[in-house]
């Protein structure tokens, strides 16, 4: 067997766009990474430059690997340009929090840092972690050192590497969750970059002499071609949107025992307007690996993308394009070559939901959790909004954990019987005990951050969605659909941070007040949606939805989801593969 595998069982492939080429043949970011002295660049010097609140362009790129993005307050960008002032630069800082689990002590620290440096707000992301916004350059070090005190870091939270590893929340199965959470954490620790740059720049540690190879044994000097996302999910809930991951592990459980994982590869949401060669793609199922082969599988899959991914054009550099260019069979064979054994056939599994169970629920082992709906994941301390204060008060008495869900909600988890009344009292005191308030649509909605901080945003998203939902709710009520769960996701640009392309209704920003409208995604993320109306304003969005809901209410089959209906009714064609998304 091994002799057979020494020779690749598959055809030669085009290597003209991957890392086998000299840097001069590749895109500018490859040269930048290669020349960055393993992600050091001139970040340390730039932090000291008092003439600008920003950093050099090349350091902005490198800082992403360190988990932080330079942004600016876009609400005042134009006015400041006239005032001959630079944009109001600030930084988004994203925490590395594999599986979205944190302790009450960590929560208290995060809260304190957000109040001190982050404009008194924290955001729970769609990938189960915390983001700070509004951090000024001269507070970056203090923020990251503060996280370090709480045993948290921001390594690889952004950049061309493995992003935060996601893990199913599954509160009902505490033992299984613990096991898979350990795997997710291990995967993150294993796959993040290793350069000493982080400790030197942020913690002020001295550089330890080492060879280049020692410093970054897996990634080398040019890291990945683009970001690489990994997630673990436990059926029947697809809460992490496993089909949106570059590499997804679907737990196969026998009785209470975790046996191994089905492996899916090549999911990703991002696309670019006006570039039909870019498209969202759902991950493809390629087989099954036993439990003890997870780390090996990560190395094999990531190394295939590291070696063959497109490094000429960043808009074509995600794993999904490598797969579609080379062919799924070719990629699978290459993965198996690197594993040294063939993947087993995929096992049976079923997904039937991707939402969170709100309010109190029991888990095995006598513990309970309370899941809070948090609109768009935004936690802030503002007049009339005490959510941040409430969660701090809970963190001070809580002895279990907090779990961030991929739907940007928050579970106060591992609550003992004795503690439950204490938590309940605080929830009541802050008016959070009743989680039935939000409509089914609102509970199944997500928005990315967009304006004013995100540099990519072309339209509003987080600030816009709550009001838009209120208007849609009126229409739903008119059609007696107010209790119908429908997934609605909005992003301020085509890049897809809130995973809009596999929602039943997706809106992606084109210009201020203008969105593309997509419909027909699978309710639990199993199918991409399809462009239905391009570049329309709110009036047209509402009018279009009104018409669609009218037909849905009248013609649907019992239990049929909205996304399934619009396809059966022939309103939009079904998108079977990502590369046909733009057809």
């Amino acid at each position: 067997m091994s002799i057979e595998l020494m020779k690749p069982p598959h055809a030669e492939t085009d290597r003209s766009r991957d890392r086998s080429q000299p840097l001069s043949n590749l895109g500018p970011d490859e040269t930048l990474k290669a020349g960055s002295n393993h992600l050091r660049g001139t970040i340390a010097e730039g932090l000291l430059d008092e003439i600008t609140a920003g950093v050099a362009y090349s350091d902005q790129k490198l800082l992403k690997f360190h988990g932080t993005y330079q942004q600016d307050d876009r609400d005042v960008r134009d006015e400041r340009r006239r005032q001959k002032l630079e944009p109001a630069h600030q930084f988004m800082v994203r925490v590395r929090l594999p599986g979205g689990v944190c302790t009450p002590a960590q929560w208290i620290k995060l809260d304190a840092l957000a109040r001190a440096y982050g404009g008194e707000t924290l955001r729970l992301t769609t990938r189960q972690t915390f983001q700070f916004h509004w951090i000024l350059k001269h507070n970056l070090k203090a923020t990251i050192q503060g996280l370090h005190e709480a045993l948290l870091d921001t390594v690889a939270a952004c950049g061309d590497d493995t992003r935060g590893v996601m893990c199913a929340v599954n509160p009902g199965l505490s033992g299984l969750h613990a096991q898979i959470y350990d795997l997710a954490r291990g995967a993150s620790d294993h796959a993040t970059w290793k350069s000493g740059a982080y400790h030197e720049i942020w913690y002020g540690e001295k550089k330890v002499a080492s060879s280049q190879e020692e410093e970054e044994p897996f990634y080398g000097k040019t890291y990945m071609p683009r970001k690489f996302k990994i997630g673990f999910v436990i059926p029947p809930s697809n809460d992490i949107d496993v089909y949106a991951q570059d590499l997804g592990f679907i737990a196969i459980v026998h009785g209470q025992k975790l046996e191994g994982f089905n492996v899916v590869i090549g999911g990703s949401m991002g696309r670019t307007d006006g570039k039909p060669q870019t498209y969202p793609r759902l991950a493809s199922l390629i087989g099954y690996v036993p439990l003890d082969k997870v780390t090996q599988t990560i190395d094999a899959v990531m190394s295939v993308q590291r070696d063959y991914g497109d490094r000429k054009d960043r808009a074509h550099a995600r794993f999904k394009y490598t797969i579609d260019d080379k062919g799924l069979d070719w990629i699978k064979a290459e993965i198996e070559t690197r594993l040294g054994f063939p993947l087993e056939p995929a096992r049976d599994f079923v997904f039937d939901t991707n939402g969170d169970v709100l309010g109190w629920s029991e888990s095995d082992g006598g513990l309970a959790q309370f899941t809070l709906f948090i609109e768009n994941g935004r936690i802030a301390s503002r007049p009339g909004n005490t959510l941040m204060d409430a969660l701090l008060a809970i963190a001070k008495v809580h002895s279990g954990t907090f779990r961030l869900t991929p739907n940007q909600n928050l579970a106060i988890a591992d609550v003992t019987r004795e503690q439950r009344p204490v938590i309940q009292a605080l929830l009541e005191q802050f008016g959070l005990a009743n989680q039935g308030g939000a409509s089914a649509l609102r509970r199944n909605s997500m928005a990315c951050v967009a304006l004013p901080t995100c540099g990519l945003a072309m339209a509003e998203s987080e600030r816009y969605l709550p009001g838009l939902i209120s208007k849609i709710e009126t229409i739903l009520a008119r059609h007696n659909l107010i209790d119908e769960p429908i997934t609605l996701r909005v992003t301020g640009c085509p890049n897809g941070c809130a995973r809009p392309y596999n929602s039943e209704i997706g809106l992606t920003g084109r210009a201020v007040g203008k969105y593309n409208l997509y419909i027909g995604g699978g309710f639990h993320g199993q199918r991409l949606n399809k462009l239905y109306r391009e570049n329309i304003g709110e009036a047209a969005i509402l009018e279009t939805l009104d018409g669609l809901f009218g037909r849905f209410a009248g013609e649907r089959k019992p239990g049929e989801h909205f996304g399934d209906f619009v396809i059966r009714a022939g309103i939009v064609p079904e998108v079977i593969e990502g590369r046909h998304f733009n057809d």
Binding site: I51, A53, E79, Q83, K84, A88, G274
Partner: protein, 609 residues
């Protein structure tokens, strides 16, 4: 005849290089100039040569040493890089066919050179709902604004990139196409609009444009460039303090960002047609108008009718007008106190007039404006002439000029902090800064004149300069650097700047950043006093950088201090002395001698107020 002088002669160079037609023009111009104008014109030409814009007028036979004029400029406004890519491709293609072409980003293009272009090709995308690309916003604002020059003699064509799913498809390109025509430029070929699949229409546009371009550089009229000189007809009487020029406001914006504890403005006036000139370091005198609300309040309090005829400086006018434009009606003077004491007979005012009560009188005047005194000590039935008798004629206000004529011809820029405070529960403003903040809309005018300041001058181009300024004290350094840029000066420059908050009060931040980037400014140190718990001022930065500072002085650097006279200037002086003592290992007296020597050699110049 100058034209027969050999080209080798060092004495008469210019005329020999001019064509007879140019020479005739120049001589005609020379005859119309008085001495001051002639001096200005000589500086103007020197500046023009330094800026490189004269390149366009250089005759083609000048030889290899002279850079050939750019025949075709391709300007691009790009959001995603498509326009930039097209522009660069086209430029190299033109160069390959022997046409001197260059491609440039609207972002970094010196808009003042626009009128000197011969063929201008525009490639621009549209952003969002009909907006220009972010990087082209400044260019659009200039060209669509009132400062845009006439472009007769410029040929152009526009390639517009867009996305037809937007309502305002290719709008940015359309705007430029329209505007260039409005400014008098000639359309070489019709605009082409491209959708997201722009490659083929773009290629088509290039095919159309290419044969229409001049095959060789410098075939167009050589005299065109001279038209920029025409500083309108010389004024009959030169404008000065007694006869100020009514300068139109062309820009008036707040430099300080949101949340600032201050309001500092950037105000630009047009000097077009005035014949007024200035040098970096000079000041501008402004004749403000008083606040009409204050005029109203005084009229109401005295019961006088604004229409009452009065005579002032042998001219007849109405009382309201006289109060608005002829007299100081805000702060009161001892003379007013005396006058009002007589009119009111108030014992309290009389008492304050006593020689022994000088300190108390000063304090009283500090806290009581004219309106406060009139209110506190009413004089029923007071006559208009009696009121005016106590008032002082309105004085012009001087501001350090923040621009250089070589960078902004026919313009003068000021940096003005609006003075606002409360007195007796009422908001009050400074007279001139209040006028600029409230009543100096673009297109309104204000009487201005130039106040030369020969004691605040740039040294030779290769001499290092150290500029220290807090707040609006940074204004003349903006002029200095503009001037040095225009002259291609090579001397090092170091700027110390202090204000309250980095985010809102970093006056002209992007300009300093650009100067640092292109090397005109060698280094810059800033002190923001209200950003951290410990207050930091420019003098602290001077102390921190003492070693380098001293080294620069030893190299012959000139030292400038501008800004607040009461605190900043003495603190800076002390910091300089300390730095010199420490770094030169000098005693107190020797250090003072060192600074005094700098002063005597005009190497330590101050403009403090």
């Amino acid at each position: 005849m100058p034209s027969v002088v050999s080209e080798d002669s060092k004495k008469v160079v210019m005329p020999a290089k001019l064509t007879p037609a140019q020479l005739a023009q120049l001589e005609a111009l020379a005859r119309s100039l008085d001495r001051e104008q002639a001096l200005w014109a000589s500086g103007y030409f020197a500046g023009l040569a330094g800026m490189g814009t004269l390149a366009i007028a250089e005759p083609p036979h000048q030889g290899d040493a002279a850079p050939a004029a750019t025949a075709v400029t391709i300007l691009y406004g790009s959001e995603t890089g498509n326009s930039a890519g097209l522009a660069r491709d086209f430029a190299s293609r033109l160069q390959a066919s022997g046409i001197n072409a260059r491609a440039g980003d609207m972002d970094s293009y010196k808009v003042r050179a626009l009128k000197d272009e011969r063929v201008l090709l525009i490639i621009t995308s549209t952003h969002g709902e009909g907006d220009p690309p972010q990087s082209a916003l400044n260019f659009f604002e200039f060209i669509e604004g009132r400062k845009a020059p006439k472009l007769a003699g410029v040929q152009f064509s526009v390639l517009a990139l867009g996305d037809s799913t937007y309502e305002k498809y290719c709008e940015a390109g359309k705007r430029l196409d329209r505007r260039l025509e409005e400014l008098g430029a000639t359309r070489l070929s019709p605009r082409v609009d491209c959708d997201v699949d722009y490659e083929s229409p773009a290629a088509q546009w290039m095919e159309t444009v290419l044969p229409l371009l001049p095959g060789e550089p410098a075939k167009t009229s050589q005299v065109a460039a001279l038209s920029v000189v025409s500083p309108a007809a010389p004024a009959a009487v030169p404008f000065d303090k007694r006869n100020p020029f009514n300068a139109p406001v062309i820009e008036n914006l707040v430099l300080t960002g949101r949340g600032s504890s201050k309001e500092t403005r950037h105000v630009e006036f047009s000097l077009d047609g005035s014949g007024l000139t200035y040098e970096p370091g000079d000041a501008l005198g402004l004749m403000p108008l008083n606040d009409t609300a204050l005029v109203e309040a005084i009229l109401e309090q005295t019961g006088l009718d604004g229409q009452t005829p009065v005579t002032h400086k042998k001219a007849d006018m109405r009382l309201a007008a006289a109060l608005a434009s002829e007299f100081e009606i805000a702060a009161a003077t001892p003379r007013f106190l005396e006058s009002w004491a007589t009119l009111s007979g108030a014992a309290e005012l009389r008492r304050l007039l006593g020689a022994e009560n000088q300190a108390e009188r000063n304090a009283f005047l500090h806290h009581h404006h004219v309106i406060d005194i009139i209110r506190a000590f009413p004089v029923p039935g007071v006559k208009a002439a009696d009121l005016l008798m106590g008032l002082r004629p309105l004085q012009p206000r001087l501001y350090s000029i923040a621009s250089s004529l070589s960078a902004a011809p026919d313009e003068v820029h000021l940096t003005v902090s609006t003075v606002r405070y409360e007195l007796h529960g009422e908001p009050r403003t400074g007279v001139a800064s209040g006028h600029l903040a409230a009543r100096a809309e673009p297109d309104s005018t204000m009487p201005v004149y130039v106040q030369p300041n020969p004691h605040f001058r740039l040294p030779a181009d290769d001499v290092p300069i150290i500029m220290i300024g807090a707040g609006t004290g940074v204004a003349p350094y903006r002029a200095f650097l503009q001037e040095r840029e225009a002259r291609g000066a090579t001397g090092k420059a170091w700027l110390f700047f202090g204000e309250r908050n980095f985010r809102s009060d970093f006056l002209y931040q992007v300009e300093w950043q650009e100067h640092l980037h292109n090397g005109l400014l060698t280094r810059m140190d800033v002190a923001f006093s209200r950003d951290r718990s410990e207050k930091v001022y420019v003098q602290h930065r001077l102390r921190e950088k003492a070693a380098d500072l001293y080294a620069w002085l030893e190299e012959g650097a000139h030292l400038y201090v501008c800004g607040d006279a009461a605190q900043m200037a003495p603190d800076v002086h002390a910091a300089l002395l300390a730095a010199i003592r420490e770094q030169g290992h000098l005693g107190d007296e020797a250090a003072e001698d060192y600074l005094r020597n700098l002063q005597r050699g005009h190497r330590y110049q101050r403009d403090v107020y």
